[in-house]
């Protein structure tokens, strides 16, 4: 078995410690609320009912009403994450839902999934 010197061990420990220091921190509920209001509310509305200012009578689709637990329960958390990251077409929905994967961090998207579950008061499809 190859021996690792004490110096190398310290170096590895230091790298691991630095990695932990810079590891992603989950977004807090208040940060996520701000993210939702800033990005999502344009179409989904401030309370998530699908009634943002972009939704005029000519808007080509109805943005999802996150308060509709029956519809939201059909989607798993992974489905929600996918559609936020990659946009509507990734789940055969409208391109009016933008891909936010180049704009938001993974932590912000995870926070949004939780936020949406809070609005629908539902757990979504499991497994």
């Amino acid at each position: 078995m190859q021996k690792i010197s004490l110096g190398k061990t310290w170096a590895i420990a230091a790298v691991v410690a630095m990695g932990a220091q810079f590891a992603a921190v989950p977004a807090t509920a208040s940060e996520t609320a701000a993210v939702f209001k800033f990005y999502c509310a344009q179409c989904h509305g401030l309370t998530g009912k699908g009634d943002g200012p972009n939704v005029t009578k000519d808007f080509p689709v109805s943005p999802r009403n996150f308060a509709n637990a029956k519809e939201m329960d059909k989607l798993s958390d992974a489905d929600l994450k996918n559609v936020i990251m990659d946009g509507g077409p990734s789940v055969s929905k409208s391109p009016m839902m933008p891909p936010w994967g180049k704009t938001l961090t993974v932590e912000q998207v995870d926070g949004l999934v939780k936020h949406l579950r809070g609005i629908c008061k539902c757990k979504g499809k499991q497994g």
Partner: protein, 223 residues
């Protein structure tokens, strides 16, 4: 030799005069309180959503690269809403209460703002033209029209209301800025409500969108 000296003095005088005009425009800008809502020194300062929301109006540190001088001059004298909604607000309609300038202040401030440029905008890259590929991306493939108004069929205004209107954007925006903004959004607006399309659209796609949007101009009336 004598001619050279005269030419040199003339050039120095012109540079000094244009510098003085810019300074005068900057003075008017501050005196009129424009600086209370718009910042004019780059680079972009916003790092967080709160930073963006704290702003009362758009940043203008690259106004000379973004706008067309004629449009800007006309607009300063007679400002019309560009955004359907109030700046940084999703609930309140644009109150259309931007202050007007008059007399010599218009040209002075327009000159000052047109002197504020960004090296990130390369001249001569985008030629406005009818562009079916750009249209396809703008209306079908990507959600641009979901947030920006534009003139649809028969001139009917279509599109969403949360972003700046792009109706007649070809008169307002420098075509090369549109492309630079799509390609390097963080240079101009590090925190914005519009998605980042870098890595989602190719440079060619962005060029097509820029050409398409830069071609948004009023239809000439048939005689």
């Amino acid at each position: 030799m004598r001619h050279l000296a005269v030419a040199t003095i003339g050039a120095v005088f012109l540079i000094a005069a244009s510098g003085a005009a810019l300074a005068a425009g900057g003075d008017v800008f501050e005196a009129k309180g424009c600086g209370e809502c718009h910042y004019t020194q780059g680079p972009a300062r916003e790092k967080t959503i709160d930073d963006q929301l704290a702003k009362k109006g758009p940043e203008l540190w690259y106004a000379g690269s973004k706008f067309q001088k004629k449009w800007l001059t006309d607009w300063l004298a007679d400002p019309k809403p560009i955004r359907p909604m109030k700046f940084n607000d999703l609930m309140v309609e644009n109150p259309a209460d931007h202050p007007k300038l008059s007399g010599g202040d218009v040209a002075a401030v327009a000159g000052f703002l047109m002197g504020l440029t960004s090296d990130a905008v390369k001249a001569g890259k985008v030629k406005p033209k009818k562009n079916p590929k750009g249209r396809q991306i703008f209306i079908k493939k990507m959600p641009c029209s979901g947030c920006h108004q534009y003139a649809g069929r028969k001139g009917k205004i279509a599109g969403g209301r949360s972003g700046p209107s792009l109706v007649d954007a070809g008169l307002r925006l420098n075509p090369d800025w549109i492309l630079a903004y799509l390609q390097q959004p963080k240079v101009f607006k590090p925190v914005k409500m519009m998605p980042v399309f870098v890595g989602l659209l190719s440079d060619k796609d962005m060029l097509n969108v820029a050409r398409y949007v830069a071609n948004f101009k009023p239809k000439k009336k048939k005689r």
